[in-house]
């Protein structure tokens, strides 16, 4: 197994980092092998990267269904099990179902969207990761693996594209 190391290049502006990504493509680092870490969200079109899919919307719709079923149970299931007459109103009241159904559907939708965020992002995770604090100061980091012999090549290429610094990194606790 060839020795590889992880390089992290920091850029201060978007345009140089996008040009650097193109350069890395030329040098053989494909999109799957490259990670872009930034302090603000950067649109995939801006970076020229593939659009990432996320299952959160579908999970959220599932959560909405769960909420609706819960409301059905509360409004129709329970009076079915333990009927009680109140106020001359029907035992299975439909307008309250609209209200409680809406609230619980939205709760399910949003609750599952949040859980989806945790699941999809594999959060919370506290194991060591590749990261430098400059990223939260607004720098854009390009992280990729390269064979040890080519380290100098990549460093020169990225520095010439305008990187602030290029360094090998190890995964460390954040």
């Amino acid at each position: 197994m060839a020795d590889t190391l992880t390089l992290l290049a920091l850029f201060a502006e978007i345009d140089p980092s996008v040009s650097a990504i193109d350069k890395l493509h030329e040098m053989g680092i494909t999109d799957e092998k490259l990670n872009v870490i930034s302090g603000i969200p950067l649109n995939h079109d801006v970076l020229g990267r593939p659009n990432l899919r996320t299952f959160i919307p579908r999970l959220a719709m599932g959560g909405a269904m769960i909420g609706l079923v819960a409301a059905l149970f509360l409004i129709f299931g329970i009076p079915g099990l333990y009927p009680l007459t109140v106020g001359g109103q029907p035992v299975f009241p439909f307008p309250p179902f609209l209200i409680v159904g809406f609230e619980l559907t939205m709760l399910g939708l949003m609750g599952m969207a949040f859980l989806g965020l945790l699941l999809a992002g594999r959060l919370p995770s506290y194991e060591p990761k590749v990261y430098v604090p400059e990223i939260s100061d607004g720098m854009i980091a390009l992280v990729f693996s390269c064979p040890v012999e080519q380290q100098a090549q990549f460093e020169d290429a990225l520095l010439s594209m305008g990187a602030e610094q290029v360094q090998p990194v190890e995964a460390s606790t954040l």
Binding site: L84, T85, V86, G87, G88, Q89
Partner: protein, 243 residues
């Protein structure tokens, strides 16, 4: 689409109050308090409007001096068929009793949101604002058939449901039907003028049904369609004044 239908709720136990006979002696108030273990509030709380009278009499002055006369109206829980208080209780402490067709108040379920009292158009519901003491020997007067309520619980007239049940059990043990007039809530029993009559509204031969068919009969706040089980007979017969 057809218009909204008035929901006609079934009737069973009902009451007729004859305002022509009522003279405002408040024997019914006292009897109810004794029968149902109602607390003694004290002057200060009564002055702030917290009197716990399950039945109270309202006095109306009519006419001009010197031809002034009074009308008395005992107000108690109307045991509505479409009770506004029942649907608002979040914990089902106020439910419609299907076997007696009255409004049941479940004391140990009440959490004290007081929505039912707000919603009662007759304002007949009464809340336990504090724990009131019952100094010895008043505790001997407690009725063992009725729960004693503590602070935070809503209560109201129950048509002396404990007396209804006792009479039904007696009749059952004796192997016979209940007679009309056999069940007497405390207020009915105490009234010296026989102004309050109690019985089965679903029995066309009972005294209560006969009285309720009179032309003088009316229900309080009829426009609200609460379908109360208490029918009043107007007392505007000039009380024997001439001219």
């Amino acid at each position: 689409m057809s218009g909204a239908k008035s929901r006609n709720t079934p009737s069973k136990w009902g009451m007729v109050i004859n305002q022509d006979l009522c003279m405002g002696c408040q024997a019914c108030v006292a009897a109810c308090a004794m029968e149902n273990n109602i607390s003694f509030i004290g002057e200060q709380d009564v002055n702030t409007g917290r009197s716990m009278q399950w039945i109270h009499t309202e006095r109306f002055w009519n006419g001009q001096y010197p031809n002034v006369y009074t009308n008395f109206q005992p107000i108690l829980c109307q045991q509505c068929g479409n009770a506004p208080c029942e649907s608002t209780c979040p914990v089902y402490a106020s439910v419609h009793s299907d076997s007696e067709q009255i409004n049941a108040q479940i004391y140990n379920r009440c959490v004290g949101t007081r929505y039912c009292a707000n919603n009662c158009p007759y304002q007949v519901r009464v809340f336990n604002w504090r724990d009131y003491s019952r100094p010895v020997p008043l505790n001997n007067q407690l009725n063992p058939d009725v729960t004693v309520r503590r602070r935070g619980i809503m209560e109201k007239c129950t048509f002396c449901i404990q007396r209804i049940h006792r009479a039904e059990l007696t009749a059952q043990t004796e192997g016979r039907q209940l007679q009309d007039g056999e069940v007497e809530p405390a207020c009915v029993q105490a009234c010296p003028a026989y102004a309050i009559v109690f019985g089965r509204l679903d029995d066309p031969n009972s005294q209560v049904s006969q009285l309720a068919k009179q032309g003088r009969a009316f229900r309080l706040l009829e426009e609200l369609d609460t379908q109360p089980k208490v029918i009043y007979l107007t007392g505007d017969s000039n009380h024997g004044h001439n001219g």
